[in-house]
Subunit: 187 residues, 2 copies
């Protein structure tokens, strides 16, 4: 399924294509996934599972974590970006799910809920940074978090379409310039 | 074609679906579009045509235009956002094209080229704003433009998934806060 998704996208994710990759019959696959929608839901759950299982800057394998505040805001934004091949593949699949999700109210609501939860978590990190004086106290933390989430999402899309222009280094520079802008407001 | 795209996305854009909307036979449609790829290319060209034909803040119908500098940067970013129903429908179709485009090297290159041209135009507006002292002269205008493009692209995605949370007013507030951050760096 992953091989089909990373090369042909959600549009190319059919029971037949996955069966062919498995060297199995479409009939056998239908036993587990009665239709394409079941396959898509499974793909999205698997994407969640993979994202959580991946080592994250916000929760490294060694148990350390960036200190609360701007460092943690930065780490959680870096965790979203396609800075290596695996993150790029997952992001390509995630971005590819938008076409299908926008046509399916239930999936669209699930995507929206996921983004809302992610903004809530980010808002808490932003509020920490405000208490520490690293971000302007007078700004609305929810607005800063929504802006930061938009920034990294758009950077994901740009990096997927122009990976040479948006190297990991370039993505990090752009994020750091963005965060410097937020912090600059404090002055 | 537009009705199919706005409800079912690129995934649902088939010769059969468009023929059904037209009340025509698939055979007749095949006369004009030999395959799905031809239909998709036509949809993307039509999207370009519609975008150019739409009244734009950067080039209003009355011939006026925002003054060079930060006002023009802001206007060209507002032109991207789904601030009304028509812009939302076009953006939904555009975002929906990414899954397909990322699976097709030729389309991916065309999308990347389009974004690169848009960044080049934006970089010129940013440079104007720098000359006018509205944005920090020491910043790289290409980096500011790439960051601003990422910001609005991500905001488009957020607004499509959560239109109630990201009203036109909220999108504009978030963009203005972002621009204030860029300008704040000047101080």
């Amino acid at each position: 399924m992953w091989r089909v998704l990373s090369t042909r996208g959600f549009e190319g994710l059919t029971l037949r294509a996955v069966a062919a990759e498995l060297g199995a019959s479409t009939g056998l696959l239908t036993h587990y996934f009665p239709n394409k929608r079941a396959l898509l839901s499974h793909a999205l759950e698997e994407l969640d599972r993979r994202s959580l299982a991946r080592p994250r800057r916000t929760a490294p394998a060694d148990g350390s974590a960036p200190p609360a505040g701007l460092a943690r805001v930065r780490a959680s934004l870096l965790d979203v970006l396609p800075l290596d091949g695996e993150a790029a593949a997952d992001n390509r699949i995630w971005v590819g799910s938008w076409d299908h999700a926008l046509a399916d109210p239930e999936l669209a609501a699930a995507h929206a809920g996921r983004y809302a939860r992610s903004r809530t978590a980010l808002t808490a990190h932003v509020a920490d940074a405000q208490r520490l004086g690293e971000l302007p106290a007078r700004a609305d933390p929810a607005a800063l978090a929504a802006g930061a989430q938009a920034f990294v999402l758009g950077l994901v899309v740009q990096a997927l379409f122009a990976p040479e222009e948006f190297s990991a280094e370039r993505q990090t520079e752009l994020l750091d310039a963005y965060l410097a802008g937020l912090a600059g407001l404090a002055g």
